[in-house]
């Protein structure tokens, strides 16, 4: 009998598998086809202060080994999430959920985190300072040590819930940003958000995405994500949620060996709606195969 449980910022998860924000909506489409309570938890769609449509379409493109998205944080706004989405979510998800928060100013991050942090269902705030698809917000907070520390500090003082800061890989030195967040009081770090990329339609001779650039995710980014998790593990003393191209139970184990306490699954959910379930189901046999009895014992094991 293997033990898949892990502890993330004081909350025990049955397993480390967490569908990533933006690839799982609010869980409802998936709850229609399987019981999503088998998951460790999930991180719901990035939420801002006001309703947003996001970027013009097309905002999805295919790439080798993955995809680009330039959705641009479409969401119904924090009030709607609290008044309508979270009450509905209670009917199909009974664990603590991770609330992904984005914004265009420190005040917005603070307001949204403070409101969502008061919700009993919310276990963690995942602070998205790394969205590559919005201008004047998102990633601009996560590419500079000072602003990363400041927004982290401001949000920490506005909520009692653990704050996990989600980092962008589109920086020169991700470790310095991770350290800045730790100094700002972050309870954890999640990485990586998508890598900025683009495609050009050679028939039209124009960019495929209306936004020109988009975030690259999918199995192709896995080695880059793994490398960054490995590096950040050496740079900080707070738990890491690893993500980027995770598509199998073996990928989860690899991420944990690199230093992840829990692991998010992103684009894989979009091509196979059962992907996260298959990963959860695949963990015990994979652990047995590789001689692992207690999953949390392997965290950072490759160092």
């Amino acid at each position: 009998m293997v033990n898949t449980s892990v502890e993330l910022c004081g909350i025990t998860l049955d397993n480390p598998v967490i569908p990533a924000s933006g690839t799982f909506g609010y869980g409802k489409e998936f709850a229609e086809i399987y019981d999503i309570n088998i998951l460790g938890t999930f991180s719901f769609k990035g939420t801002t202060g006001e309703e947003r449509f996001g970027n013009p379409t097309p905002r999805i493109a295919e790439t080798p080994g993955g995809m680009l998205n330039a959705v641009g944080l479409q969401n119904p706004g924090v009030e709607h999430v609290i008044d309508t989405v979270l009450p509905d979510m209670k009917s199909y998800f009974h664990k603590k959920v991770m609330a992904n928060v984005s914004g265009f100013s420190v005040d917005e991050y603070v307001r949204v985190s403070s409101l969502l942090g008061k919700e009993e269902q919310v276990g963690w705030i995942e602070l998205n300072i790394s969205c590559p698809n919005v201008h004047g917000g998102g990633m601009s907070f996560g590419t500079n040590e000072r602003s990363a520390r400041e927004v982290t500090k401001a949000v920490k003082s506005a909520t009692d819930k653990p704050v996990i800061v989600k980092l962008s890989p589109n920086v020169t030195d991700i470790c310095s940003i991770a350290k800045a967040c730790e100094k700002g009081g972050a309870d954890g770090i999640s990485l990586i958000n998508t890598l900025m990329g683009m495609r050009i339609d050679i028939r039209r001779k124009k960019p495929v995405l209306a936004n020109v650039t988009g975030g690259y995710s999918g199995s192709g980014v896995f080695p880059v994500a793994l490398r960054m998790v490995y590096q950040v593990f050496e740079a900080v003393d707070i738990p890491i949620v690893g993500m980027g191209g995770v598509s199998s139970a073996e990928d989860v184990i690899e991420m944990m060996l690199a230093g992840a306490t829990a692991v998010e699954v992103g684009a894989a959910n979009l091509i196979d709606p059962y992907a996260s379930k298959k990963i959860v189901d695949g963990l015990p046999p994979a652990m047995e195969k590789y001689g692992i009895t207690t999953l949390k014992d392997i965290i950072g094991g490759a160092h």
Partner: protein, 242 residues
């Protein structure tokens, strides 16, 4: 949404760059206007293709080769097994039709109207169909619609067959109570501007997942933001913001 495996029965060209694929598998619950999302070799994202027909265990898809994914599909032979998500999207509202529904399709917008025509005729409705193409070698499914019992008009832009011009140039041939349309957006807009009855139009947008999770294919409508894959692809005429 259902995730099942289908086996290709036939896959052959139907018109210029247009192929017809029939597959065997579980089609339970598939309604007119829905689509399937197909996992293809060498692709990451699935390919959404509208359902032309679902009868018993046979699913019929008609697709145009427009890129790597559909070109890959065109190379598939009978016997190959494909992983499909089925019953995606809302489908047409069959009860909005009145007694004389008019179905208008342009190019590869024609296929989803076939199953719709079949169901409406089963309900005893008098179905008119306008099929619009650029030129005669692109025409497909004229006889198939006719043998269902629908009255069919063809339009071609170059006048090589049927009424010369666009689908809207054949509107005068029919008395109708409601319009169902699928085709390129400029065609849908022209239809919307000309008709005086209600209508339901099937729209298209580049999709990520196909089942409502990624919000890649959202559109702004008079009733708020809609995910075309989940809240569409069929929208009421009145809610479409052109």
């Amino acid at each position: 949404m259902k995730n099942t495996t289908f086996e290709i029965l036939t896959n052959a060209p139907l018109a210029k760059d247009v192929y017809r694929m029939t597959l065997s598998g579980d089609t339970d619950g598939v309604v007119p206007g829905q689509f399937v999302d197909i996992q293809i070799d060498g692709g990451y994202l699935r390919r959404p293709i509208s359902v032309c027909d679902a009868e018993g265990r046979v699913l019929t898809l008609i697709y145009k080769t427009v890129g790597k994914g559909t070109e890959e599909m065109a190379s598939y032979k009978a016997g190959k097994r494909l992983d499909l998500l089925t019953s995606l999207g809302n489908g047409y509202d069959l009860f909005a039709s009145g007694d004389h529904p008019l179905l208008i399709g342009g190019g590869v917008g024609v296929p989803p109207l076939y199953m719709l025509a079949k169901e409406l005729i089963k309900q005893g409705k008098d179905v008119g169909v306008i099929l619009g193409f650029n030129t005669s070698c692109e025409i497909f499914y004229e006889e198939e619609f006719a043998s269902l019992g629908a009255r069919v008009a063809i339009t071609t832009v170059d006048g090589s067959r049927g009424t010369k011009g666009f689908v809207t140039d054949a509107l005068g041939l029919f008395d109708y109570t409601f319009v169902y349309a699928c085709g390129p957006k400029p065609m849908l807009k022209a239809v919307c501007d000309k008709i005086t009855t209600g209508g339901q139009f099937s729209l298209e947008e580049r999709m990520g997942c196909g089942f409502g999770a990624c919000m890649g294919c959202s559109v702004k409508t008079a009733n708020g933001f809609k995910r075309l894959c989940k809240d569409g692809p069929v929208l009421n005429k009145e809610e479409i913001l052109w």
